[in-house]
Amino acid sequence: MYNETVMDHFEHPRNIGEMEDPTVVVEVGSGECGDRTKLFLKIEDDVIVDVSFKTLGCAAAIASSSMATEMIKEKTLKEAWDLTNRDVVEALGGLPEQKIHCSVLAEDAIREAINIYRKGQGFEPW
């Protein structure tokens, strides 16, 4: 059902766990399937210097969170904002059709976290 990249990120999720002293924390949930993700970002000079997550969800949700966090680490906020769930799915080497929507959660969490941070800094949200 899942390819080996997905299975690897599911079984050995990168950046899993809580973070001490994060700059922003968000928690997002998908009504559609009840998946939930909590994302922790440490931001310095508009760069994501550290990231971690926790996820209640299927293998696709966990692997997407893992891959997404890898993809935004050490990226600028702008670069992170531009990451779409399609990029994540592509980086994972694809997901089954009916599982694509599980990858949206990571994108949602990243964007929400960035906007919370921007608002906290007194900027307009993107």
Partner: protein
């Protein structure tokens, strides 16, 4: 078994309600009918005699398992076809008398979706509620009957949580009201004694691959005198009631398999029940916040069904798969889709319990060592998934 993922890990198959391997004795019984005795049973020449005789034997074997006469057994291509035939055939035959069906809210999709189709054809369907254990109340069956009711269809045992329905009482209600009673016994065969007369059943569906028989085989019991319309029209096979060249090896396999699994049901119940209880007690004892779904004792002897809130069932399944353990999140047919099972919903199970459910269904081929292995492997996996999700 040959798990592609990790050849060094033993496979522990705990999904017997999804399907079973065809038993080697059953395969052996089937083999001559592919090649040596391949004749079309409808043909006149002697090489077809063996095929005809084998079908007659299989019919007797199925009848013996249900306590009916061989004339009342009709072979089909599986449990789904049997369910479709029983429900569509019976409601169609009685169309002039009414257009109402009474069924439960926890039926297999083969019944549920057939009834759903009939709703698009002008029938009305009452889906009876169940209690938190998944039990249908016979009094509610009776209360649901209207002058338009022409069929009551309630499964013998549920495929997800294993709850065994009060079939005999429901049959009595149906009989009292002169209404035909169909039961989907696909999950029940081999795990409990079945007697269509005592249980007042008029139509009963079964499926070969659920009891170590071949896939693509099934039967419908039709009580003598009951005449559902045909579902499959064509040649005169099965006394003109189910057309198509008989799947002779499949029928032979179905017969051999049902004879095997009904020869010692008490022994099976003892053996598999002990393993199941060991599994249930182990899980309940070792895994915090684990919830046993279904009825404590009115349930299939081989079924264990749990919820582990705080994780996702599919993720758990995949972890178990890596450890060589085959299990299910519910019915085989609904795996891969995340909607909560209609069975758990009908039982009032909350979504967080529903999405974290795990079905383990045992068979006579399981061992104590396998259960011990599962009990070793499962708790840390669950802890890990919960830890990944706890916030």
């Amino acid at each position: 078994m040959n798990p592609s993922h990790a050849p060094d890990i033993p496979t522990v198959y705990l999904d017997h309600s999804a399907t079973t391997p065809t038993h080697p004795d059953v395969v052996r019984a089937m083999l001559p009918y592919f090649t040596e005795h391949f004749g079309n049973p409808s043909s006149l020449y002697s090489i077809s005699d063996a095929a005809r005789a084998a079908i007659a034997t299989a019919r007797t074997q199925v009848a013996a398992a249900l306590g009916c006469s061989a004339d009342e057994i009709f072979f089909t291509a599986g449990g789904t076809e049997s369910d479709n035939w029983a429900i569509r055939g019976m409601t169609s035959a009685r169309k002039k008398e009414g257009n109402h069906i009474v069924t439960s809210s926890i039926e297999h999709h083969a019944v549920l979706h057939t009834c759903g189709y009939l709703e698009t054809q002008g029938f009305s369907v009452t889906h009876l509620p169940v209690d938190r254990y998944g039990l249908v109340d016979p009094a509610q069956v009776e209360a649901a009957i209207t002058p338009e009711t022409t069929l009551i269809s309630v499964m013998m045992a549920n495929n997800e949580v294993g709850t065994i329905q009060p079939v005999q009482e429901i049959g009595a209600v149906a009989r009292d009201h002169g209404i035909c009673f169909h039961t989907d016994a696909v999950q029940a065969v081999g795990h409990m004694a079945i007697d269509v007369d005592a249980m007042k059943i008029d139509l009963l569906s079964l499926s070969g691959h659920k009891f170590f028989g071949p896939k693509g085989t099934g039967a419908l019991y039709i009580r003598d005198g009951i005449l559902p319309d045909n579902l499959i029209h064509g040649g005169g096979q099965e006394k003109g009631r189910r057309a198509g060249t008989e799947n002779v090896p499949g029928i032979v396999g179905l017969g051999a398999a049902i004879a095997r699994v009904t020869i010692d049901i008490p022994g099976h119940r003892e053996r598999v029940g002990a393993l199941r209880d060991m599994l249930v007690q182990g899980i309940s004892g070792r895994i915090p916040d684990s919830h046993y779904n279904g009825h404590p004792d009115k349930r299939l002897v081989n079924n264990a069904h749990f919820s582990f809130p705080g994780l996702d069932g599919e993720a758990l399944l995949l972890m178990l798969n890596r450890k060589g353990i085959c299990a299910s999140i519910g019915s085989a047919c609904s795996s891969g889709c995340e909607d909560m099972s209609h069975v758990l919903r009908a039982m009032g199970v909350p979504p967080s319990y529903g999405r974290s459910s795990l079905r383990l269904t045992l068979g006579d081929d399981n061992t104590k060592e396998e259960i011990e292995y599962v009990l070793d492997v499962l708790p840390p996996l669950i802890a890990r998934l919960r830890e990944m999700a706890a916030f």
